[in-house]
């Protein structure tokens, strides 16, 4: 037994120094995580007064097939946006910013997010038109259309203003519609919305939270 001689001299000093360094690292690591865990999730999305359930609706997807919203989005974080493909400004900005954010998320997080773009202009936005449009942002984005009655009823159920038209002359018209993206957590309830002006950075903050924690105010 020569434990004593093994532990003496420089080895002992080195050992003690190593212990101190590791303890300091461990404790500071613990403190850092502790404060992280106890902090409420810091969402940048605007919080809705009354959470909105995912509408129980069946629309038509961009392959022309029926799309049952509650069934297809169950267990996913769903970013739902109502717009139209002839929208030059707000719609493509939202879709572009969401696609850029999703590209930058870890794959495990990204695969738990669905983006659903529902038209408020069903006369122009056929399934083919919707597909060509959403595919330019991300082939995984889902474009939904329907009859005028279906898309109007869908907006009403969501509690957003039903779209109206502004005549731009020469047969052109703009569609006036809700300008924010509605984020549903995996339990199919929306607690936060993302107005025009929020983009990639806001998504990169909120999407990992919505995927991992849902909505915890």
């Amino acid at each position: 037994m020569n434990t004593k001689s093994w532990l003496s001299g420089p080895r002992l000093l080195f050992g003690l120094a190593a212990i101190i360094v590791l303890i300091v690292a461990g404790v500071s690591g613990y403190l850092v995580t502790r404060s992280d865990d106890e902090e409420p999730a810091d969402y940048v999305g605007a919080v809705i007064n009354e959470p909105v359930p995912m509408p129980d609706a069946v629309l038509t997807d961009d392959d022309g097939k029926p799309f049952d919203l509650r069934k297809e989005t169950d267990g996913f974080v769903t970013l739902l946006y109502v717009g139209y493909t002839h929208c030059p400004d707000i719609c493509p900005t939202h879709l572009y910013e969401m696609s850029e954010a999703i590209k930058r998320l870890p794959e495990k997080t990204a695969e738990q997010v669905k983006v659903v773009f529902v038209t408020a202009d069903p006369e122009r936005d056929t399934p083919e038109v919707m597909k060509a449009y959403v595919d330019t942002f991300d082939p995984n984005f889902i474009g939904l259309t329907g009859t005028r009655e279906e898309t109007d009823a869908f907006q009403e159920t969501l509690g957003i203003p039903v779209a109206t038209r502004t005549d731009l002359g020469g047969g052109n018209y703009a569609v006036n519609h809700a300008a924010y993206v509605i984020a549903f957590t995996k339990d199919q309830v929306a607690y936060t919305v993302y107005p025009s002006g929020m983009g990639m950075k806001e998504w990169l903050n909120d999407l990992p939270l919505l995927v991992s924690k849902g909505y915890v105010p």
Binding site: M1, T3, W6, L7, G15, A18, I19, V21, L22, A25, G26, S28, G29, Y30, V32, T33, D42, Y43, V44, G45, A46, V47, N49, T85, H86, C87, P88, D89, I90, P92, T93, E100, R104, P106, V129, A132, Y133, T136, F137, I160, P161, T166, L168, G170, N172, A174, N176, A178, A179, Y180, V193, P195, S196, M198, G199, M200, E202, L204, N205, P208
Partner: protein, 214 residues
């Protein structure tokens, strides 16, 4: 022997703590919100070159949006070193249907319409065209605008006169460049100010047309 046992126990505890700390630090670095995109900070330190100049007006950061149909929008920033002016008209060779549009967000809904009289360019200030505010609306396009292409645009100001631009076609402005990048940095207080204090107030103050004096 006793001493050694204590030493080894302490060591293994410390090693475990250290490993936990190291892995948590690594985890935090991956999952944290400090993973700022590199290109988001480009071009802020040096003054970018103007795309075109006419009189006291300099034009920056112009682009037009990719399309899958006959509608697109063009954006740019006009910096004015002189008296107030107005952008009254825009024309392009790719279509005859060009309008100066504003997006107005009231409550939950946004609408887009022609801006009567054009876009004001404040004295010694700037006119910013950006999504959710002002844009040059291009309609009845004969061909889709593809990423990487360019379009021509001629602007007519009430006082400064006409100026020609060549704009790149892009899917979106991105968050790089422009006035947004500085204030959008995570942790710079943007989070607080982006969250409306109570209830659903989307669009508040964020989608309004920008024409601010310096």
């Amino acid at each position: 022997m006793k001493k050694f046992r204590r030493f080894s126990r302490l060591t293994s505890l410390a090693v475990v703590l250290g490993l936990v700390a190291a892995s948590l630090t690594a985890f935090a670095a991956c999952g944290g919100d400090d993973d700022d995109d590199d290109d988001a900070n480009n071009g802020d330190t040096t003054e970018p070159a103007a795309m075109a100049t006419v009189g006291d007006l300099k034009i920056y950061d112009g682009w037009a949006r990719t399309t899958t149909n006959a509608v697109s929008a063009a954006y740019f920033t006009v910096k004015n070193g002189g008296l107030e002016d107005t952008l009254v008209k825009a024309t392009t060779s790719i279509t005859n249907t060009v309008q100066l549009h504003e997006v107005i967000t009231e409550g939950a809904s946004s609408r887009m319409q022609e801006k009567p009289g054009g876009f004001p360019v404040p004295a010694n200030g700037e006119l910013v065209l950006k999504p959710g505010g002002y844009h040059v609306m291009l309609m009845d396009l004969k061909a889709e605008l593809k990423e990487g292409a360019t379009i021509d645009l001629e602007l007519e100001f009430a006082k400064a006169g006409k100026v020609k631009l060549t704009l790149p076609v892009k899917p979106g402005a991105g968050m790089s460049g422009g006035e947004m990048s500085g204030s959008m940095t995570p942790g710079s207080g943007m989070h607080g100010s982006m969250t409306p204090p109570a209830g659903m107030t989307p669009g508040m103050g964020m989608a309004s047309p920008t024409a601010k004096a310096n």
